[in-house]
C-alpha cells in the first residue's frame, strides 16, 4: 500500500515534469548558462583576488569586502547614503506627481491621449540621450538653461552654480533627472488603476457635495492604494539600480560624494579593474535590495490584510 502511494506520487511527479518540460526548458537553459552561472561566478570573484588577464582566481575570504568598507578613500558609505537619499527624495515626488497627473487626465473629456503620450515621453527616451540633455541643462556656465533661469531671469543669486561639480547640487540634478524620467511611468500605472474605480462612486460623492479635492483625497487615494504600493516597491528598488544618471552627470564627483552603489561597482570593475571589490559591492547591493524587498512586502501585505478585514 505505501509502495502504491509512492508509485502514484512518482507518476504524478513525472507527469508534471513531462508536461512542463517543453514550456520551461528553453528559458531555463538560457537562464542557467547566461544568468545563474555568471552570478555564481561573480559570487566566487567577490571572495577572490581575480586577475582577468591571467584568468587566475585565488581565494582570499572577506578581504574585498573589508577593503571596500574600510578603505580610507572609499566612497562606499557615500554611495549607499546616496542610494537611500535617492529613494527617499524621488519616490514620494514620483508617486504624488504620477497620481496627480493621472487623476487630472482621467477627468478630461477630450485629449487624454495627448497628455498621456506627452508625460510618457521621458519614460521612452533613452537614458543616454536624457543624460546628454541634462548635462547641457545643468551646465556650469551661463549656457546652461537652469543657471540662466536662476541667475539671469529670476536673479536669485549672482553667481552661476557649478551644478555637477558640487556634492548637493550634483545630487539634486540626479534626483531631478530621476523624477523627470519616471513620473510618466507612475502616471500611466495610475491611469490604469483609476479606470478600475467605478464612476458611481464619484457621482455619489459629487451628489453629496464633495469637491474635486475631497474626491481625490477620500476616494482616489484609498482606492489606488495597491497601485501605490506597487509603484513604491518598484521605485525604492529601482533607486538601488541608479547608474546612468550618475555616470553621465557627475561621475561621482566631487570625491565620490555623488556616487551610488552601481556607479561605484562600475568604476571599480571597468576603470580600476578591481573585479573582486566590484563583485563584493554587487553582492552587498543585492543583499540590500533583497532585505528591502522583504521588509516592504511584509509591511504592505500586513496592510492589505487589514484592508480586507475592514472592507
Amino acid at each position: 500500500m505505501p509502495y502504491d502511494i509512492k508509485k502514484r506520487k512518482w507518476k504524478k511527479y513525472r507527469k508534471g515534469i513531462l508536461a512542463a518540460l517543453p514550456f520551461i526548458t528553453p528559458g531555463l537553459v538560457l537562464v542557467c548558462i547566461f544568468v545563474l552561472y555568471p552570478m555564481l561566478f561573480t559570487f566566487r570573484i567577490a571572495f577572490s583576488d581575480y586577475q582577468i588577464v591571467k584568468r587566475e582566481i585565488t581565494w582570499i575570504g572577506f578581504e574585498n569586502f573589508i577593503s571596500v568598507l574600510t578603505a580610507k578613500n572609499s566612497s562606499f558609505w557615500y554611495a549607499i547614503r546616496n542610494n537611500f537619499l535617492y529613494a527617499f527624495v524621488t519616490t514620494p515626488c514620483i508617486i504624488f506627481l504620477g497620481m496627480f497627473f493621472a487623476y487630472l487626465i482621467n477627468n478630461l473629456s477630450k485629449g487624454k491621449t495627448i497628455f498621456k503620450v506627452g508625460f510618457y515621453l521621458p519614460v521612452i527616451t533613452s537614458w543616454v540621450i536624457v543624460g546628454l540633455v541634462f548635462q547641457y541643462l545643468f551646465n556650469s556656465s551661463n549656457r546652461g538653461l537652469i543657471n540662466y533661469v536662476i541667475v539671469d531671469v529670476l536673479h536669485l543669486t549672482k553667481n552661476y552654480i557649478p551644478w555637477l561639480l558640487r556634492e548637493w547640487t550634483g545630487n539634486t540634478a540626479i534626483w531631478i533627472m530621476g523624477i523627470w524620467k519616471n513620473t510618466g511611468w507612475a502616471m500611466l500605472i495610475y491611469t490604469a488603476a483609476l479606470q478600475g474605480i467605478s464612476k458611481d462612486l464619484y457621482e455619489a460623492a459629487s451628489l453629496d457635495g464633495a469637491s474635486s479635492w475631497q474626491r481625490f483625497k477620500r476616494i482616489v487615494i484609498p482606492m489606488v492604494k495597491p497601485t501605490t504600493y506597487f509603484v513604491l516597491v518598484n521605485m525604492v528598488i529601482g533607486s538601488f539600480n541608479v547608474f546612468i544618471q550618475v555616470m553621465l552627470l557627475t561621475s561621482g564627483k566631487p570625491n565620490g560624494t555623488t556616487s551610488v552603489l552601481q556607479y561605484l561597482l562600475y568604476d571599480k570593475a571597468f576603470n580600476q579593474f578591481k573585479f573582486g571589490e566590484a563583485s563584493a559591492i554587487g553582492l552587498m547591493t543585492a543583499i540590500t535590495i533583497i532585505i528591502l524587498t522583504v521588509i516592504l512586502n511584509r509591511g504592505l501585505k500586513l496592510d492589505t490584510v487589514d484592508k480586507e478585514e475592514t472592507v
Binding site: 508536461a19 537562464v31 487626465i105 533613452s126 540621450i129 551646465n139
Partner: protein
C-alpha cells in the same frame, strides 16, 4: 432644464481650467525635449547659444543632413533594427512559454525555481558581463564567423539580451496568466486538449494586451541598450549600434552638440512612433477604449 444647462457650463469651464493646467505642466515637462530639438537646428559656433534656447531661432536641417549622410549611421541603424527585432521575437516565444509553465502547470520544484528567477532580478546584472563574456567566447559554433566563439557577433549579443530578459518577462507574464479564468482551460482539458492547445488557443489570444505591453517595453529597452553592446561588440565596427554611435559622436565631437542632438532625435523618433501606434492596442489602449464606452 436651466439647472442642467448651468451644470454643463461649469463643467466646460472646469475642463478648460484642467486643460490649461495640464498644458502648463506638460510644457515644463517638455523643456528638455524642446531644448534638444531647438539646439539641433543651431549653426555650429563652438559653444551653446546664449541665452539658452528652448525655441529654435531658425529651422535648418544641416545637422540632420550630416548625420543621415554618415555611412556609419546607416550601418548602426540597420544593426539596431535587426538586433531589436530578433531579440524581442525570440524573447516573446521563450518568455510566454516559461510564463505558461510557471502559471498553469504543477511540477515539482516549481516554486523554488520561480523564487530563483525572482532572486536573479535583485542582483545587479551588469557584473555578470564578465562571466558572460567568457562563456560566449567558449561557445564555438561550426558556422562562418562563429568558429572563434560568439564574442563580437550578433548571435552572441542577442543570446545575452534574450537570456537576461527571461526572468523579468516570465515574472510579468506569469502574473497575468494566473489572473485569467480557469474555466476555459478546464473545458479544453475535458475535450482532451493538451497544454499546448490551451497555450496557443486560449492564453495567447487572451493575453494580447499584456504581451503587447511587454513587447513595447522590450523593443524600447533593446533599442536603447548601450552597455552590454559596448562590451560584447567593442571592437567590431560592422556591428555598431545606434546608442554606441551616439556615445561616440558625443565623445569625439563634444562641441558639435547640434550633431549629437540631431542624432538623439533621429534615434528617438522610431520609439515615439512605435509607442503612438501601439498605445491603442496595449494595456493603455484598452483603457482608453473603456472610457470611451462610458
Amino acid at each position: 432644464m436651466r439647472k442642467f444647462k448651468g451644470k454643463k457650463a461649469t463643467e466646460r469651464v472646469g475642463q478648460g481650467i484642467l486643460w490649461i493646467f495640464l498644458l502648463f505642466a506638460l510644457a515644463i515637462f517638455s523643456v528638455p525635449y524642446l531644448f534638444m530639438i531647438s539646439n539641433s537646428f543651431e549653426k555650429f559656433s563652438f559653444s551653446l547659444p546664449f541665452p539658452p534656447r528652448i525655441f529654435p531661432k531658425q529651422i535648418i536641417f544641416d545637422a540632420y543632413r550630416y548625420i543621415l549622410g554618415l555611412d556609419i549611421f546607416t550601418v548602426a541603424f540597420r544593426n539596431s533594427v535587426i538586433n531589436t527585432v530578433l531579440t524581442v521575437a525570440i524573447e516573446l516565444l521563450v518568455a510566454t512559454l516559461s510564463a505558461y509553465g510557471f502559471a498553469r502547470i504543477k511540477f515539482p520544484g516549481r516554486e523554488v525555481l520561480f523564487k530563483i528567477y525572482l532572486l536573479t532580478l535583485m542582483v545587479p546584472g551588469f557584473l555578470n558581463i564578465i562571466p558572460q563574456f567568457i562563456t560566449l567566447g567558449a561557445i564555438k559554433l561550426p558556422f562562418p564567423g562563429l568558429k572563434e566563439g560568439l564574442v563580437g557577433t550578433r548571435p552572441g549579443l542577442i543570446l545575452i539580451y534574450v537570456a537576461t530578459g527571461i526572468c523579468g518577462h516570465t515574472f510579468f507574464l506569469r502574473n497575468f496568466f494566473r489572473g485569467l479564468p480557469d474555466a476555459l482551460s478546464e473545458s479544453v482539458i475535458m475535450d482532451g486538449g493538451t497544454h499546448m492547445t490551451i497555450f496557443t488557443r486560449i492564453m495567447l489570444p487572451l493575453s494580447k494586451p499584456a504581451i503587447g505591453t511587454m513587447t513595447i517595453f522590450a523593443l524600447q529597452g533593446i533599442w536603447e541598450e548601450y552597455f552590454t553592446a559596448k562590451i560584447l561588440l567593442g571592437a567590431n565596427e560592422a556591428m555598431i549600434t545606434l546608442p554606441m554611435l551616439l556615445q561616440r559622436l558625443n565623445g569625439e565631437h563634444a562641441t558639435r552638440w547640434e550633431w549629437v542632438f540631431a542624432a538623439s532625435i533621429l534615434i528617438q523618433i522610431p520609439v515615439i512612433i512605435l509607442f503612438i501606434l501601439f498605445q491603442r492596442k496595449t494595456v493603455i489602449g484598452g483603457l482608453s477604449e473603456g472610457s470611451v464606452k462610458q
